[in-house]
C-alpha cells in the first residue's frame, strides 16, 4: 500500500492480487488509501454485486459514506429487484460506454471533489468483452480520469490474468503494484 500512497493524483495503477487478498485490498483502498488522501471512491464492480461488497465491508466496520458504487452485475442476476440507494446500475458489463457515463455522472455529482475510481476487475470485464474493446474502454476511461485529476485503480486477479490482460494493463497504467496483504 506504501507504493500506492506515493502515486500522484491522475495516476493509473494496476493492483495485482491473489484471490485470497481480495477483501483486504478493497478494505485497504476504501479504508486507508482514500481517507488518507481525502478522496471519494467510485467503485465499479463487475465481479460481485455492490450489495454483497457493502455487506462485507460493513461487517469489517469500513465507513462507506464517501464510497459510491457503479454496479454492473446486479441487473444481470435473475430475480434482482432490491437496489441500494447509494449505487448506480449498469445493465451489463458489456455496456462499457454506460460505465463511462455512470462514472462521469458520479464525478459530476461529487462537484469537483477529489476521487479515486476503482475498477473491480479487469478479469471480470474480460469475461464479457473482447480484449480490443476492453483496451479501448480503459484507454478512454483513464485519459478522461487523468483530465479530471482522479486516480484510477484497476484490480487484476493473479489467478486469472493472462498475458494479453497483462499487456493491456502495462499499456494503460503508470504502475503495477502487487498487493500481498
Amino acid at each position: 500500500m506504501g507504493k500506492l500512497q506515493e502515486m500522484p493524483p491522475a495516476s493509473a495503477i494496476a493492483l495485482q492480487m491473489g484471490a485470497k487478498h481480495y477483501f483486504d485490498a478493497v478494505r485497504a483502498l476504501l479504508d486507508v488509501f482514500a481517507p488518507r488522501k481525502h478522496l471519494h471512491s467510485i467503485y465499479v464492480t463487475a465481479t460481485i454485486p455492490s450489495k454483497s461488497i457493502i455487506s462485507a465491508l460493513e461487517v469489517l466496520d469500513v465507513d462507506l459514506k464517501r464510497t459510491h458504487f457503479v454496479d454492473c452485475v446486479s441487473s444481470m442476476m435473475m430475480g434482482f429487484s432490491e437496489k441500494d440507494e447509494g449505487a448506480v446500475y449498469v445493465e451489463s458489463p458489456t455496456m462499457l460506454e454506460n460505465i463511462l457515463l455512470k462514472v462521469e455522472f458520479l464525478i459530476r455529482k461529487l462537484d469537483g471533489a477529489d476521487s479515486v475510481v476503482i475498477i473491480d476487475s479487469i478479469n471480470s470485464l474480460a469475461i464479457h468483452n473482447s480484449l480490443k474493446i476492453l483496451s479501448e474502454f480503459l484507454h478512454i476511461l483513464i485519459n478522461h480520469l487523468r483530465s479530471r485529476n482522479a486516480y484510477t485503480v484497476i484490480f487484476a486477479m493473479e489467478e486469472y490474468t493472462t498475458e494479453e490482460v497483462e499487456n493491456i494493463l502495462s499499456l494503460v497504467c503508470d504502475e503495477t503494484v502487487n498487493f500481498t496483504g
Binding site: 471519494h40 462507506l64 459514506k65 464517501r66 464510497t67 459510491h68 437496489k83 440507494e85 447509494g86 449505487a87 448506480v88 446500475y89 445493465e91 451489463s92 458489456t94 455496456m95 462499457l96 460506454e97 454506460n98 463511462l100 457515463l101 455512470k102 462521469e104 455522472f105 458520479l106 459530476r108 455529482k109 461529487l110 462537484d111 471533489a113 468483452n129 473482447s130 480490443k132 474493446i133 479501448e136 474502454f137 478512454i140
Partner: protein, 272 residues
C-alpha cells in the same frame, strides 16, 4: 457533496447545466461565427463550441431517444445565461413539462417566475394564426410563422424549441409547403438572433432523418438521436450529421439522460 450520493438509477429525462469546458471556450473564440452554447458539454465539444447563433437545427429520432430532454436542456441552460427561451409544445402539456424538469439538479423555479423559460402550446399558436381546419395552407403557414416570431419578439427570446415540427408538417400536406414553412421560420428566427431546435419524430426502425424527407434539407443542422443494438444491449446514440457554419465531429456517441444533464461518451469500436 459530503455523504454518499442517493441515486435513482431509473431516472429518466433528467438534465443538468454545466459551464462549457475551457476547450469549448477556446473553440468559440477561434470561430468566425458567434456560437450558442447548448450547455450540454459533450455536444458543445462535438460542435467545437456550440450551435452557430441563429441556426435552425433539426433534432430527430424515434420515440424515447431523448429529443425532448435535449430540447429542454438547451432552453434551461440558455435561461441560466440570461437568454430567454421558448418551448413550443404539441405533445406534452406545459404542466407536465414543468414537472419533468424538477428532478434536474440545475433546475431553478425562479427561471419560470422570471419569464426566462416560457412554454407555449402549439394549439394556442394555431389559434393566434387563425388556423382552425386540419390542413394548413400557404397563408396559414405564413401566419403561423408570424405568430411564432411575434412570441419571440415579445419576449426577446434567443432560443426556441418546437416539439415537434412533425405535427405541423403533417398538416401542411405538401413538400413545397413544408419547405416554405421551415425555410420561412428559419430565416425569420435568424433575423431575430434566435437559435432554434425543431424536433422531428421518425418511426421506429426507420433510417430516415424526417418523415417527409424535406425537413433535413432546409435546416442548418441535423442532430440524429437513435438506438443502437449491440449484442443484445440497446444503447442510446447521438450523431451530428450536419451543422452549417461549424466544423464538427460526425462520429456516433452514446448518450445517457441523467439528473445532471445529457451525458455523452464515445461509441467504442472494439477494433471493428
Amino acid at each position: 457533496m459530503k455523504e454518499r450520493i442517493s441515486v435513482d438509477n431509473n431516472e429518466k429525462n433528467m438534465i443538468s447545466s454545466r459551464s462549457a469546458s475551457r476547450g469549448v471556450a477556446q473553440a468559440v473564440e477561434a470561430s468566425d461565427r458567434v456560437r450558442c452554447l447548448t450547455g450540454i458539454d459533450g455536444l458543445d465539444n462535438i460542435l467545437n463550441g456550440g450551435i452557430p447563433k441563429g441556426n435552425t437545427t433539426l433534432v430527430t429520432g424515434t420515440c424515447g431517444t431523448g429529443k425532448t430532454s435535449l430540447g429542454l436542456e438547451f432552453i434551461l441552460h440558455g435561461a441560466e445565461e440570461e437568454e430567454v427561451g421558448i418551448f413550443i409544445t404539441a405533445t406534452e402539456t406545459s404542466e407536465k413539462l414543468m414537472e419533468s424538469m424538477i428532478p434536474y439538479d440545475f433546475f431553478r423555479p425562479k427561471l419560470l417566475k422570471e419569464g426566462k423559460v416560457e412554454f407555449l402550446s402549439l394549439h394556442e399558436l394555431y389559434k393566434t394564426a387563425g388556423i382552425s381546419g386540419p390542413e394548413i395552407d400557404s397563408k396559414g403557414a405564413a401566419s403561423l410563422i408570424k405568430a411564432v416570431v411575434a412570441a419571440v419578439k415579445k419576449r426577446k427570446a434567443k432560443r426556441l424549441v418546437m416539439d415537434s415540427v412533425t405535427s405541423v408538417c403533417a398538416r401542411l400536406s405538401t413538400e413545397d409547403r413544408i419547405r416554405e414553412f421551415i425555410t420561412g421560420l428559419s430565416h425569420a428566427l435568424a433575423k431575430e438572433g434566435c437559435t432554434a431546435i425543431l424536433i422531428s419524430e421518425v418511426p421506429a426502425g426507420s433510417d430516415i432523418y424526417s418523415p417527409y424527407g424535406v425537413e433535413e434539407a432546409v435546416v442548418d443542422g441535423v442532430v440524429l438521436l437513435g438506438n443502437l443494438e449491440r449484442r443484445g444491449d440497446l444503447l442510446r446514440t447521438l450523431q451530428v450529421v450536419k451543422m452549417r457554419g461549424a466544423t464538427h465531429s460526425r462520429a456516433k456517441y452514446v448518450l445517457d439522460l441523467t439528473s445532471c444533464g445529457v451525458l455523452l461518451a464515445p461509441l467504442l469500436k472494439g477494433g471493428g
